[in-house]
Each structure stands twice: as C-alpha cells, then as structure tokens.
Subunit: 261 residues, 2 copies
C-alpha cells in the first residue's frame, strides 16, 4: 500500500501537481484517509478536503476512512462525514466506508473471544465503543463515570467485580478515574484476561492547533499498573489495516493512503 | 550508602544472623527505611518490624523513613509510625525523621522556583502534598475532584487557567481525571513550566499481597500527553536521598538502607 504524504517520491516528500495526481490516481481503485487532523480538526473540515473527496467519488474511486478515534460508531462517523461535506452512503450500511477503532476492536474481540459462551469486556471508553462491541456479541460493563467508593485504597479493592470478564478494553474515556484504573488492574490479574487498547495516540488534534491528551496516555497508565502490554488495534498497528483489507478485498498495489505527519 | 536487602554481601543476598547484624550495626550511625511494603502494608505493620526499630532506637541509632508515597505530610507519617508501634519523636518537629515525596517535592520546588515572587503549582495530588508545598511558600491549585466541564473536548480547553503556574506536580491523586490531564498539558505548554513527578512506582502495596496502581501510572499519562519527561523526586532518583543527606549530614560509610525487593 503506497503511502502518500503530500506526495511521496522515493522517500522525499513532494507536493502532487495536477499531472502527477492524475497519473497516480489512474492506477488506483481505493483511497484510504486518516480522519482527525487530515479531513477535519474537531468540527471543522480541513480546507479543500471535502472537494477532493467529492472529486474522487466522481471518478469512481472507492474511499475508506480509517480513524484511531474510538469515540464514535461507524454510523456516527458516516453522519459526521456527511455533515462536514464529505458525502458518502446513507441509510442502512451507511458506516461501511468507516474503519474506526471502536468497530475494529469489536472485530478483534470477536476473533479472540470466539467460543466463549458469554464474552464480556470491562470497557474504559465511550458508549459508542460499547455499542460496537455489543453488536458482535461482547457484553460490556464499566462505561460511564465510576467514582471512588469507600474511604481509601483498601476499600477500593473491596468493590465487587463482574464475573466472566475476559478482556479489559481501553479507549477514549473522558470518565477515566482511579477507580477504573484499579478495577482494570484487578480484572487483568485474572488468568486469560486480555488487555486491548484502541490506539496509542498521545494527542487528539482539535481546531486551531489545539489538542487534548490522547487515548494512548490512558492505555499507558493501565499497562504500567498491570505490568502488561496492550494489544493495540489502531494505526500504526497492523490490525486496523487487516480489517480494511478483509472487508474491501484490497489490492495493495492499487490503493493509496493519505495520512497525517 | 550500603544497601541491605535482607543482608547484602558482595552482591549476594544473605540473611543477617545475630552476629553479622551486631557487626554491621557497630559501624553504623544511621539506618534508613523504606515504608510501604517494608515497615507496613496498608494499615498493618510488617511482623517484627516495630521490635527491630525499637531495638535500634535503644542502641542510639538515628532512624530515617524514606517513602515515595506522597499522600501524607511528614507529621501524618510520624503519627502513623507511632500508631503502628514504630515509636519516634512527638510534639513540634515530630516529622523530622520522615522523608516523604510530598516534603521532598516541596524542597525541590523551593530550589527550582527560587526568586519568583509568587511561585504557584498545579497539583495533581493530595491535600497533604499541597500542604507541604504551601509550607515552603508555593501556592497550590487543582487539589480535589475536577469533573469534566462543557459538552466535549473543545469545551474542556475553554476552562480558564490560573495565572503564574510555574510547575505541574503529579503525585498520588485519587481524583485523577481527564479534565486534570487536559489542564496539566495546557500548563506544560507554557514556557518554563516544570513537570515534577513525586515518584514512578507502578504499584502501591497494601495488606495481604493486594495493591493498587501507583503514582507512576499517572505521571506516565501526563508525560505522554505533554511529550516531556518529569523530574522525579522519589527513589530510585537521587533527589530524595540528597534531602536526607543534607538534613542528616549523612556519612555514607556509616549509613545503611533497608529496602524492599
């Protein structure tokens, strides 16, 4: 899969002119895009990006949207793409162009927890992440605020754990708390419990050069406490690309990926 | 400073017998101790530890207690030592045997922020940490719960920052939250703002082999988001030992340190 970073040329970074762009596209069926920081920042489309995508659609290229952000379902991303002027399918299956880490984490868990009668995950993450997991049959606990219970560290450990939790999933969790960190580590001490991180991004870019801490910061905290490394779903890990490959039947020779710096 | 781990002998780890212990102690003025996991686990004294310390005190040895835990002031530690049967001074100056990271972080900030008219720190940590900082003239903001404000990442960045914050201090903070992580990173983008971690322990040992996540997990999260390395106060960093050295006028040849594995 060729990676184009404002035009890649034997390792140098060059800007595509119209002619080179035409040549490049002639050999390509599928164009994959990063989202945050590439198509948009926060709720603002990057200048020129909607027009570029509209032109690609008009030329019959298949588009795919790859995002490490786990805070939205495929459908919610499809809605955002349309809202910001990037077009795309509507109705049932509207999310089929979108490969977000919420969806791909669900595919990963379906693969890894296969055969278990009642696969269950402790989710440090959004409702959207849980929604995608539930859609593949993984039931979710832990979403939402989880305040400290009891009057100190010892009491925090007395909180009951849910039975049959087979994975701890760490995504973008605005309600991250010490209590959740404590519970995550307790689940991870149980034999065979997976630790999955949606992505390791250190920052999430927003409008005007602003950013907030990324999910990777939370994954690192859990990894350090549990003394284990997470299985990571998002870029640059391979798994998210495997998801696209599998669903799109990608020919790497005829695919390009527009990505951020 | 010789380190004794159930008796150190040219790199091998041996248990001290009575004769060897006598010989060792004859050459020593000062004995320093780790606290969590060595003298106590949670609220339970390690078996035999109070008697050992009482014997050392009876032989005129000077004791020092070194702890990476930042959740108590020197005075509160002195009180805990007495409560668990380890003896020690009472009244004003009762905390003089204790070198905790709350106190030593205060010494570090006093050193680094010297000359500033109104040194101020954003503290992810306990009231105790703030108390030690305030005692050396560093005013503190941020202690306590800090829930999410506004309806999304962009809004979180609109929260006003305190002026004149010269350091972000990350200690044991049961109220750690995304909002605090976000604010910490915003302060750290300001020129000259220090990042200080009380310690990098991945776990805090409690009773019965139980543990919770340690402060290091929170420091790592802030480090990763800010893309900066923290100045670390606690063991194995040198600074905490420098504090002891300076206040005790330590002769390393005549000092031993009992530490955990």
């Amino acid at each position: 899969m060729a990676e184009v970073e404002a035009g890649g040329d034997e390792g140098r970074c060059v800007r595509l002119n119209a002619k080179r762009a035409q040549e490049l596209l002639a050999d390509v069926d599928t164009v994959l895009f990063d989202c945050d920081g590439v198509l948009w920042r926060g709720e603002t489309a990057v200048s020129g990006a909607p027009e570029t995508l509209t032109a690609l659609r008009a030329r019959g290229k298949r588009l795919g949207f790859i995002t490490n952000n786990s805070s939205k379902t495929r459908e919610a991303y499809a809605e955002k793409l349309r809202r910001l002027g990037f077009g795309g399918p509507t109705g049932p299956g509207a999310g089929s162009e979108v490969f977000g880490t919420a969806y791909c984490t669900a595919l990963y868990l379906r693969q890894r927890l296969t055969g278990l009668p009642t696969p269950k995950a402790y989710v440090l993450g959004s409702v959207a992440l849980a929604t995608e997991l539930e859609a593949v049959g993984v039931s979710c606990v832990g979403v939402g605020p989880e305040p400290l219970q009891g009057d100190g560290p010892s009491a925090w450990l007395d909180e009951p754990l849910e039975p049959d939790v087979r994975a701890v999933v760490v995504g973008f969790d605005p309600h991250f708390s010490y209590m959740k960190l404590t519970k995550a580590v307790r689940y991870l001490q149980q034999p065979g419990c997976l630790l999955v991180g949606t992505n390791m991004d250190n920052r999430l870019p927003l409008e005007n050069g602003r950013f907030i801490a990324g999910t990777g910061c939370l994954v690192r905290a859990v990894e350090m406490a549990a003394q284990r490394q997470a299985d990571v779903i998002g870029k640059p890990s391979r798994f998210i690309f495997d998801c696209v490959s599998q669903e799109y039947g990608i020919n790497p020779e005829r695919t390009i990926m527009g990505k951020s710096h």
